[in-house]
């Protein structure tokens, strides 16, 4: 399969992720969308590695997955704490930081 197929799918996944972050209000959904954007980037790395016959891209993917795991731990902890305090995970309800 030609490489640009993978790249198109990667771009589609990333765009869906961005759109999800921008339009959804549930913090968990937003969080999942961010994960999707990361994985879209991973897909692009893998495709590029195969195309260039170079292992660097695959190494990067491992790094991204590690960081994403750590990020999930921190992010979910924040969401849990948020729910404990405000009994909601709607990000529009969390609006104290303004003028």
């Amino acid at each position: 399969m030609p490489t640009h197929y993978y790249l198109v799918i990667s771009a589609l996944l990333f765009s869906i992720g961005v759109l999800g972050v921008l339009v959804r209000r549930n913090a968990i959904i937003i969080f999942m969308c961010i994960e999707m954007m990361l994985n879209a980037a991973n897909l692009a790395f893998i495709a590029a590695a195969r195309e260039l016959k170079n292992m660097d891209g695959q190494v990067f993917v491992f790094f991204v997955m590690t960081v994403a795991a750590a990020e999930v731990a921190v992010g979910l902890a924040i969401i849990v704490t948020l729910f404990r305090n405000k009994e909601t995970v709607d990000v529009d309800e969390v609006n104290l930081l303004k003028f």
Partner: protein, 632 residues
């Protein structure tokens, strides 16, 4: 005996009364203060006798005050014939007035503790100390210390009843008007230093004598220096146009008026000019101006005194007028005549003021002469002493004022040999002498003569205690006899009766006895003195209810000053305020407001919706990517 002691004793009294006076029972602060001044007087008298014995001045350097490069100022005192006479007057009359004050101030019913009483004597002692410094200083700088010091004490004492609005205003006015003169004095002093390189009297005069050219190079000119010194004297000695503070100074306690605003401080200007006689002698233009100013002051103040009905105001204007006479003498180059008048005037004017204080005290604070009258029988001692010193002021022969005033007019007349305009000054002087006799006679008759005009006041009038009448008697004796120290040169008069001129001669380098007495002026003086007195007495007895001139005709500079200088000051202040509020504050506030508004606009972007922030991040990322893509 050390000359420093003369200054030190009142300073010690000042410290004791200032630190502990409020805790001492009532007559004690007054007694301490009086003793301090008496001690000064004794030391001064010993020094005076020493000078009389040896004929040489006593010099004493306490310590070097400052020394910078070629400039050097010592705290050094000198007691010569001139300063010796002045210090005797200051401490002697000062002591009598302290003594009088012990009785006068004790009756302040608003002062149950001796707080005010102690404050009064604290400042009175400080005044004597500064006056002693002024008189005894052997250089201009130290004289200036005393000069400023007496001004300060005068400010404190005029505003002694500081809860009274008029007293507070008057003290400020006196201080500010004096500062104008002080500034000129300071400038004159700087020019002297520029010319002579020293401020010590002897060195300055020696430098001038050796090389008069020094005093007319570049910025420096002798006329300028002497004029600046004279303007300084104008402020302190209440000459036109800086005299308006002195009548207002009557807001202070009456003994203060007697001591500071009649007998001693106001003569400081005359003393300073006499001290600088070596310079003034060589500046005929300045002396002409001085004589003119003195003459104008004398007649204007005399006419104003005629218009007033307040017992103290009449005496105040009379003081201004007499100071005018003294400056006439300075202007005519007759320094010993000026000092002679300072000497006699100190006696009779102090006595008149203290007598007025005694009357005011007896009438429970009433100062309006229209409500007085018929006090002669009630207050025997005050009446007689007031009469004697009044006659002295009026220049009635043979009282003290006759000789000193006649000497001044004769000397001015004599000066006409050089410049005939002095004839005019002498003539105006004669007219002023007549006016003086007129208002003095009127005042005496209105206060003591005739029948009581206010029964209630008259009923309660009583003679003052002995502590107040004894100083009156001593001063009255001076008013009667002091004149015999300067009798004109009539053949057959023993030499002792020219003591004043002979005594001061060495200081001024004057030679007297060459011009014989001017019989015309002597005769005129005798007629004017007694004639004016009798006329004034009749006026006072007859039309006692009114003053001779209507009150509002008083030739007061106050209105002119209020209309011009004070108004201009107000306008300037208003303009400055506008500038400060609108321009300066406007700029500062404007900058602040500008940033406030900018941030208010930017604040709207902080919505707190996470999606908005995410959108701006995404857009930012898109822009960055678009940029790199478009660059290829």
């Amino acid at each position: 005996m050390s000359l420093s002691l003369i200054v030190l004793f009142p300073l010690i009294g000042f410290l004791i009364n200032g630190l502990f006076g409020a805790k001492l029972p009532k007559p004690v602060p007054g007694v301490i203060a009086s003793l301090a001044v008496l001690a000064s007087f004794v030391v001064a008298a010993i020094g005076f006798l020493q000078v009389a014995d040896s004929g040489a001045a006593i010099n004493e350097t306490a310590y070097t005050w400052m020394s910078a490069g070629s400039f050097r100022a010592d705290v050094a005192f000198t007691l010569d014939q001139l300063s010796g006479l002045m210090i005797l007057v200051v401490t002697g009359i000062g002591f009598l007035i302290h003594l009088y004050s012990v009785g006068y101030m004790a009756q302040d019913h608003n002062d149950p503790e001796s707080k005010k009483y102690a404050r009064y004597f604290t400042f009175l002692n400080l005044f004597i100390a500064f006056m002693a410094i002024l008189v005894l200083a052997d250089n201009y700088l130290l004289m200036f210390v005393g000069w400023e010091g007496v001004g300060l004490c005068s400010y404190f004492l005029i505003g002694f009843w500081l809860e009274r609005e008029d007293a507070a205003e008057a003290s400020k006015k006196a201080f500010i008007m004096n500062r104008i003169g002080d500034f000129a004095f300071l400038l004159g002093m700087m020019l002297i230093f520029l010319a002579a390189g020293s401020l010590k009297y002897t060195e300055v005069f020696a430098a001038f004598k050796a090389n008069p050219e020094l005093f007319s190079t570049g910025l420096v000119s002798l006329t300028g220096i002497t004029l600046l010194l004279f303007i300084g004297a104008c402020g302190k000695s209440a000459q036109v146009p800086l005299y308006t503070w002195l009548p207002d100074a009557m807001a202070g306690p009456t003994p203060v008026s007697a001591l500071i605003h009649a007998a001693t401080m106001v003569t400081a200007g005359v003393y300073m000019c006499a001290r600088s006689s070596a310079l003034f002698d060589a500046a005929p233009t300045t002396r002409l101006i001085i004589c003119a100013v003195g003459t104008i002051t004398a007649i204007v103040a005399g006419l104003t005194a005629l218009a007033h009905t307040d017992i103290k105001k009449v005496l105040a204007y009379s003081t201004v007028s007499q100071l005018g006479f003294m400056f006439m003498a300075i202007g005519a180059g007759a320094y010993s005549a000026a000092i002679f008048h300072v000497f006699t005037h100190a006696f009779f004017k102090a006595c008149l003021f203290l007598g007025a204080g005694s009357v005011i005290h007896a009438l429970h604070g009433e100062q309006d002469m229209r409500k007085m009258g018929g006090l002669a029988s009630k207050m025997k001692a005050t009446n007689l002493t007031f009469l004697l010193s009044g006659l002295a002021l009026a220049g009635a022969i043979p009282f003290a004022g006759f000789f000193s005033k006649d000497e001044i007019i004769a000397q001015t007349w004599h000066a006409a040999g050089g410049n005939s305009i002095y004839l005019l000054f002498a003539a105006v002087g004669l007219v002023t002498a007549f006016i003086t006799a007129l208002y003095t006679g009127r005042q005496y008759a209105q206060v003591f003569g005739g029948a009581a005009r206010d029964e209630h006041l008259h009923e309660h009038a009583h003679e003052s205690p002995a502590v107040m009448t004894i100083p009156l008697w001593i001063l009255a004796a001076g008013a009667v006899f002091a004149g015999f120290l300067g009798v004109p040169h009539i053949p057959g008069v023993p030499e002792q009766l020219h003591a004043m001129a002979n005594w001061l001669g060495p200081v001024f380098g004057e030679k007297h006895g060459e011009e014989s007495a001017n019989w015309l002026l002597l005769g005129l003086g005798a007629i004017i003195g007694w004639g004016g007195w009798i006329l004034g007495r009749n006026l006072g007895l007859k039309g006692g209810a009114t003053s001779v001139l209507p009150q509002n005709s008083s030739l007061s500079l106050d209105r002119v000053y209020n209309g011009t200088i004070v108004r201009a000051g107000d306008l300037l202040a208003t303009a400055s305020r506008w500038f400060d509020e609108k321009i300066v504050d406007g700029l500062v506030n404007g900058v602040g407001q500008m940033f406030g508004q900018i941030s208010a606009a930017l604040r709207l972007t902080q919505t707190s919706f996470v999606r908005n922030y995410a959108l701006s991040m995404a857009l930012g990322a898109a822009v960055v990517i678009a940029y790199f893509v478009s660059r290829g």
